[in-house]
């Protein structure tokens, strides 16, 4: 068995151990690490100063020993290529194959005083510890170098509480990736973050105070910048000193020369990452380093088919929150290349395409401020195909929030055929609230499903016009739902009258009453048809069933996880038959019984409850269902028991009143048969546990859910969901689904992750406690309704008669009843409007 020694435990050296292990799990590998830590994520270095501090480690000592990797803390000082041994200060290790993954060191320009106290480089965790110690004694800090790493370092200084500056020798920031115009925009973004930027500045001298500590910089033009701390991030130099001592071939300007299989001039020695020089180039990015590791692993294990043919320097990154992308021939160095650019000083974006001399192919580009098109544009450059559309059209952004992509004037209300422009024009024309908009455009007067979108357009248009956007719940409450929720929570109100008297006006309305009822239910979980609460409830909650177009109701008992016994199926069938109900299987894996008259609801439910059913809350703004597949219990592909988890979650969150309905799904493997990614929350099984997704939606605006956390056990799943759902319940707007809530959230999924997983708001305990209260106080509303004998009178159609509504008429279609259409009705007494 051959023994492989890897010198260096940076990101690329570590990746090599993984690639080798993946190809052969029996290998014997020794890693020499100069730093006292196992490999960590150097790309995320600036997060070291976050609070709480994230663990940047890429692995653990235990994981290494599991894989037969011996990790040795020590610097390789010499190599005997004849004997095939490598020596540190205290040991000598034999190798069959040696890999140099020694990385690079920060370039420090030859300036006087560059070793003075307060001067640092930005490379290792030790560097950061030293910076942190010094930063606590000073107030200002400067980074020399305006590249990717330099800007990160400036962010790090700012996180340490210093007034930060960046000094770049080139005339623009990120000179290797973006052009002057892009650099100018980036500079503006960085300056807005309160980091000052000096470009085209040649540092001449580091100035010291009387104690010999740093006090500032002097530039070639004689100007000075006050700064008590300095960080060099002015490029890297390959660490090839060991290779030089070994007598390996190195480049003129440094770097260990490697071939396409990452072998050095000694076939038993490989080099990968920033120390390696391939075809005259050093790669200072992690992606090409990873490619080298993959090729080296193949070659070491005898597979010569993999080759490293250089790497694309295309990058897309988010730098201090600013999106920056650069791909292909970004600087138009190809002879005859032409450029088109859009500099949008309103949206603060800059987009440039570099085209071939004949203008038919994209060969490169620069994006600053918005990299949403990076994927398609960079692949155009990579594929090099001739364009089928005018190149300029590629840079025109899509209309944000458009219902149908590609249309600049999409239909918003499909019932009335009202388009976006018509709505915006109506707002401009003076329709400044929903009622006025509905009246003059008719948008939202049909099914009403587009009203959230209409409201959004109204608010956007009002904001564009410089008008104050009124986010009041309605004319009776000058508060948003979230504000009202907090008022009710903090003051402990339990009744409508208390809330109205303290914070509202008039008698309330169909908007604020259900909103307050829902908030009270979220907090106290009382029976919603108590006398004091019943008149507040929305249409469906008021009768614990879903009203249909003819005034009858649908009945939908809970079928947790979609799992149902034959006896219960029979019971549903019997009830449906007895009461003449139409049956339909729903998308949420349960059975809807439609066509029940108001007076039939209590007897239907007493039979259903006797058969073991409970309310399904299909009528509530609350949890609908947790859809599931059969998972590992039955399915040959299943890796986890999705049905059990779905049942458990459905029973946990049933009845939770929320700003809008919410749906869930649990899939037992990555095939995703439960469509979890289209739900408000979804779980997808992995070999190690569950991936948790949130904010998905079908409906008017389909959205894929976003990944919140990975490989969780059920306890973690429950805990994060408790927090997530309660956070949503507390902070969303009225009738706002989780997808829009998440869309509008400042910081989006990242912020949500901070709140839910890292508890950045310190709310986790409170949210979990609120959910525990909900679970403990849950009761089936239909059972409560049947227990409340006097209250059952509300289910009579007439207060003064046992007759029923004769206007309801049925027609049989496909062996089942359905409401008669108007032309099918036999004449009945009804009021004409004359």
């Amino acid at each position: 068995m051959q023994h492989i020694v890897i010198v260096g435990n940076g990101m690329v050296g570590h990746r090599l151990t993984e690639d080798l292990h993946a190809r052969n799990s029996e290998l014997s590998i020794t890693v020499l690490s100069e730093e006292p830590h196992v490999a960590y994520d150097r790309v995320q270095l600036s997060h070291y100063f976050d609070d709480p501090r994230p663990d940047l480690s890429l692995t653990t000592h235990a994981a290494y020993s599991d894989r037969g990797v011996t990790w040795v803390h020590g610097q390789a000082l010499s190599v005997d290529r004849e004997a095939r041994t490598v020596s540190t200060a205290d040991r000598t290790i034999s190798y069959d194959v040696l890999v140099l993954a020694t990385g690079s060191f920060p370039f420090v320009p030859p300036l006087a005083n560059s070793k003075a106290p307060g001067v640092f480089v930005y490379r290792t965790l030790d560097d950061l510890d030293a910076m942190m110690a010094h930063a606590s004694t000073v107030k200002t800090g400067t980074v020399i170098g305006g590249g990717l790493l330099g800007l990160e370092a400036a962010a790090a200084l700012q996180k340490l509480g210093l007034k930060a500056s960046v000094v770049e020798f080139a005339p623009r920031l990120m000179p290797a990736q973006i052009d002057d115009a892009g650099g100018a925009l980036l500079k503006r973004f960085i300056e807005e973050m309160d980091i000052s930027v000096l470009t085209g500045a040649s540092t001449q001298e580091i100035l010291l105070n009387d104690q010999g500590a740093m006090r500032g910089l002097r530039f070639a033009d004689g100007t000075e910048l006050e700064s008590e701390m300095l960080v060099f991030s002015a490029g890297i130099r390959p660490r090839d000193d060991l290779a030089r001592r070994m007598g390996l071939e190195v480049g003129e300007r440094g770097g260990i020369v490697i071939d396409d299989q990452c072998r050095t001039s000694d076939p038993a020695v490989y080099a990968v990452g920033e120390c390696a020089l391939h075809a005259g180039r050093i790669y200072g990015l992690v992606a090409p380093g990873y490619s080298m590791a993959r090729v080296a692993a193949a070659s070491i294990l005898g597979d010569a088919s993999a080759t490293f043919a250089g790497a694309d320097m295309s990058t897309k990154l988010k730098l201090l929150g600013v999106e920056v992308g650069s791909f292909g021939d970004a600087f138009a160095r190809t002879p005859g290349a032409r450029e088109i650019a859009i500099q949008d000083n309103v949206a603060n974006t800059y987009k440039k395409l570099v085209l071939s001399a004949d203008g038919t192919r994209v060969i490169g580009g620069v994006l600053v401020g918005d990299t949403s098109q990076y994927g398609e544009l960079s692949s155009l450059a990579r594929d090099g195909e001739a364009l089928s559309v005018p190149a300029a059209s590629l840079l025109v952004p899509m209309v944000a929030g458009a219902a149908s992509a590609g249309s600049s004037n999409p239909t918003v209300c499909s019932c009335e055929g009202v388009r976006q422009e018509a709505i915006c024009e109506a707002v401009v024309g003076g329709a400044h609230d929903i009622t006025a908009l509905k009246a003059c455009t008719r948008a939202g007067t049909g099914c009403g499903g587009c009203l959230p979108n209409v409201r959004e357009l109204l608010n956007t248009q009002l904001a564009l016009m410089g008008q104050k956007v009124d986010r009041s719940l309605c004319e009776h409450y000058p508060y948003t739902r979230q504000e009202l929720f907090d008022l009710i929570r903090v003051r402990g109100y339990r009744e409508w009258e208390e809330v109205l008297e303290a914070h509202g006006t008039g008698q309330g309305c169909e908007v604020c009453k259900p909103a307050v009822a829902s908030i009270l239910a979220s907090q106290h979980n009382e029976y919603i048809l108590k006398d004091k609460l019943a008149p507040l409830q929305d249409t469906n909650d008021a009768y614990l069933a879903n009203i249909q177009k003819n005034g009858t109701y649908s009945v939908m008992p809970r079928v947790p996880g979609g799992e149902i016994t034959p006896a219960k199926l029979v019971a549903l069938g019997e009830v449906a038959e007895k009461y003449g109900l139409y049956c339909k299987i729903t998308g949420g894996q349960r059975i809807d019984l439609l066509g029940a008259r108001l007076d039939q609801l209590p007897p239907i439910w007493s039979e259903l409850i006797a058969a073991g059913f409970e309310s399904g809350h299909a009528y509530g703004k609350s949890l609908r269902t947790v859809k599931s597949c059969v998972g590992s219990t039955w399915c040959r592909y299943g890796v986890q028991d999705s049905t059990t988890l779905a049942v458990n979650l459905e029973l946990r969150y049933r009845g939770l009143r929320s700003p809008h309905k919410f749906k869930a799904g649990v899939s037992g493997c990555t095939r995703e048969c439960a469509e979890a990614q289209s739900k408000d929350f979804g779980l997808i099984a992995t070999e190690k546990g569950w991936n948790l997704f949130v904010g998905g939606n079908g409906g008017v605006t389909p959205r894929h859910a976003q990944l919140l956390a990975q490989d969780l056990d059920e306890e973690r799943v429950t805990r994060y969901l408790d927090r997530f759902l309660m956070y949503y319940v507390r902070t969303a707007d009225r009738l706002q689904r989780t997808s829009t809530w998440l869309d509008k959230m400042d910081g989006g999924i990242e912020h949500l992750r901070e709140v839910i997983i890292h508890d950045s708001l310190g709310l986790a305990d409170e949210l979990e406690a609120a959910m525990r209260y909900h679970v403990a106080t849950y009761a089936c509303e239909w059972q409560e309704a049947l227990n409340d004998t006097p209250g059952l009178s509300r289910f009579r159609h007439f207060v003064n008669s046992d007759e029923t509504d004769e206007a309801i008429q049925w027609v049989t279609e496909r062996e089942q009843p359905r409401p008669a259409f108007e032309h099918e009705m036999t004449p009945l007494p009804m009021f004409a409007n004359d």
Binding site: G508, C509, V799, D805, A807
Partner: protein, 131 residues
């Protein structure tokens, strides 16, 4: 039952035309019930300490559902007025005039109401304003 035929509005207090339907307390404050009055469905509401009666028929959906709507108030010309929203498509109607607030020109019939000894009496329908 017979087809409804409009008749000339009778005086609200013509004794013979009044029908007792229920106790005031049968209607929760802010809530509504449906009463059968002379073969017609009448929605009866209790809002702001007053009782109102409208046809139970929602002209937009042609269903007898208005008594199940949510009541509330709105401000018109500086005055607080009362309304009900249909539970189906949420069209709102003024409780005194029956006028639809979202769709000019549409209204539902209103009924005279009297409360005596804690009981609600419903009188004749009229289609005009209650004022």
């Amino acid at each position: 039952m017979t087809q409804f035929t409009p008749t000339a509005p009778a005086a609200p207090h013509a004794e013979s035309r009044w029908t007792p339907v229920c106790a005031v307390n049968d209607v929760l404050p802010g809530g509504g019930v449906c009463a059968l009055v002379g073969g017609q469905q009448v929605a009866v509401f209790r809002v702001a300490g007053r009782v109102f009666a409208l046809s139970n028929f929602d002209p937009f959906t042609r269903a007898n559902v208005l008594s199940r709507g949510l009541t509330g108030s709105y401000t018109s010309a500086g005055q607080e007025r009362y309304k009900v929203a249909s539970p189906l498509l949420k069209h709102t109607f003024d409780l005194e005039t029956g006028l639809c607030l979202n769709e000019p020109g549409v209204s539902v019939p209103t009924y005279a109401v009297r409360v005596e000894d804690g009981r609600i009496w419903i009188g004749e329908a009229w289609t005009g304003s209650a004022d």
